[in-house]
Structure formats: structure tokens, C-alpha cells
């Protein structure tokens, strides 16, 4: 029974989704390395002294530069695809959800687009504050 379910899943998930899940995975490892280095190891604490705090001011200074904005938004897009497509794969391993493939695909797509917009908008205060 479980065997049949797994066969069904691999058909449902799709080659395109399979490839980009791998592509985004490798991209995210690189981007996450950059993200952690930038956020926690470079320049943190210069404003506040010894405390390793992330502050609005410091983030604003970084987000004055296009490169940082691009990295953040690219990472957001990758993580949303990878996370939501992964959720899709997990859901489709359950017969109960695999039956509603189309509805789940549409729902996850809408959630992804909405979250992308949300994520883009919430950086505006940092970007527009002028550092």
C-alpha cells in the first residue's frame, strides 16, 4: 500500500519541480552562507559597541546598497520555492492530500506569491531610511 503511494508521488511531483528543488537547494546553501556572514560576522556591533546586536541602523546602512537588496530578495524567492515545494512533496505522500493535487498546487502558489510580496514590502523601511 505504502509502496503504491510512493510511486504515485513521484509522478505527481513533476520533473520540473524536482530539478528546481535541487537547484534552489544548492543556491540556498551558498546564499545562507552569505546571509549568516553578513548578518552576524561582518560589521555587527560597530554602532553599539561590544553587544553583538543587529540594529535597524546597521541593517539600513547595508540595504542602501543594491547588492545586499538583491541577495536578500533572491534568497527569499529561493527559500519560498524550496520550502513550499517541499511542503507539497510531503503533502502528496498522504493519499488524503494527493487526491486534491490541483487545489493544493494553487493554494501553495498563492501563499508563495503573497509571502514574496510581504517579504519584499517589509524591507522597505530599511531601504528607504537612507542609512
Amino acid at each position: 500500500m505504502a509502496e503504491q503511494k510512493r510511486i504515485a508521488t513521484s509522478k505527481v511531483a513533476g520533473t520540473w519541480a524536482w530539478f528546481f528543488q535541487r537547484f534552489s537547494a544548492v543556491a540556498l546553501i551558498v546564499l545562507l552562507g552569505i546571509h549568516i556572514y553578513i548578518s552576524h560576522f561582518s560589521g555587527v556591533g560597530e554602532e553599539t559597541g561590544e553587544e553583538p546586536l543587529i540594529t535597524f541602523g546597521e541593517v539600513s546602512v547595508r540595504l542602501d546598497q543594491l547588492a545586499y537588496i538583491v541577495v536578500d530578495y533572491l534568497m527569499l524567492a529561493m527559500v519560498l520555492f524550496h520550502g513550499l515545494n517541499g511542503t507539497r512533496t510531503v503533502l502528496f505522500d498522504f493519499e488524503r492530500f494527493a487526491k486534491h493535487q490541483k487545489a493544493i498546487d494553487i493554494t501553495l502558489f498563492v501563499v508563495g506569491v503573497a509571502t514574496m510580496i510581504w517579504g519584499v514590502v517589509i524591507l522597505f523601511p530599511f531601504i528607504t531610511s537612507g542609512g
Binding site: I29, G83, G86
Partner: protein, 138 residues
């Protein structure tokens, strides 16, 4: 949704029953559990960043960052580090297998991957431990 619906999944004879699982199966279950945890984390992360867009943006954001740099939160960050490293290293192992590399020695590759993960986790621990125990451990 009845409990018996999940018998194929969690029953004593199912392939998910702990003693029925082999190494690769544990790796797969771990990958899914950490994956789901990370999806939840990403949404939490966005919620925290969005404080800068609410009310007195700059002050709300700085207050939240001050709170989340408390030792208890850094300890939770360390849990996040472990979860991310497992998911990343095991994920790379999956990518390697998809490319046809190492499948014949899949069990060995898993344990090599876990050794790499352990080294990375220790590195992470060294980097943040002083924030969890700012007074030092007696």
C-alpha cells in the same frame, strides 16, 4: 481523521515503525521533519522583520532584536543551526545520489555526511556559545 487512518503510516508493521526503519529511512524522515520546521521558521523570521514596518518601526525592531539576543533565544538559534546543518548536509547527499554519485555506498556516505555535519555544528557552537553563557560556564 481517525487514528486508524494512520495505521499504514505508524502501525507496528508499517515501514515507519522505528525498528523497521533502516539508515536511509531515518535520514529521509529527519529530512522531512527538519524541512517542515524550517518552513515554520522562515515565516517566523519574516514576522520578526516586519516589526520594522509597524508602529514606531525603528524602535520596535531594535527592541525585538535586543530581546532575541538574550541567551535563551541564542540557545534556540543553536537548535536552528543544528536543524539547518542537518537539512543542508543530508540534502547535498540526496543531490549526490540523484547525480548517481555514491549510491552503492549510500550508508557510508550517510555517516560521512553526518561526520561533516557534526564538525559544522561544533563550529557553530564555538561561534555562539559565549552568547548563550555570557558569564562563562563554571
Amino acid at each position: 481523521m481517525k487514528i486508524s487512518d494512520f495505521k499504514w503510516l505508524f502501525g507496528r508493521n508499517s515501514e515507519f515503525w522505528p525498528t523497521n526503519m533502516k539508515t536511509g529511512m531515518w535520514a529521509w524522515v529527519g529530512h522531512r521533519l527538519t524541512g517542515i520546521a524550517l518552513v515554520v521558521y522562515v515565516f517566523l523570521h519574516l514576522s520578526f522583520i516586519s516589526t520594522a514596518s509597524l508602529g514606531d518601526g525603528e524602535a520596535s525592531f531594535d527592541d525585538l532584536m535586543a530581546t532575541t539576543s538574550q541567551p535563551l533565544f541564542v540557545l534556540m538559534d543553536f537548535v536552528l543551526v543544528i536543524v539547518v546543518i542537518y537539512h543542508a548536509v543530508n540534502g547535498l547527499r540526496v543531490v549526490l545520489f540523484d547525480m548517481g554519485v555514491g549510491i552503492k555506498r549510500q550508508k557510508l556516505v550517510f555517516w560521512i555526511a553526518m561526520a561533516v555535519a557534526a564538525v559544522l555544528v561544533i563550529g557553530g557552537m564555538l561561534a555562539i556559545w559565549h552568547l548563550v553563557f555570557p558569564e562563562g560556564v563554571a
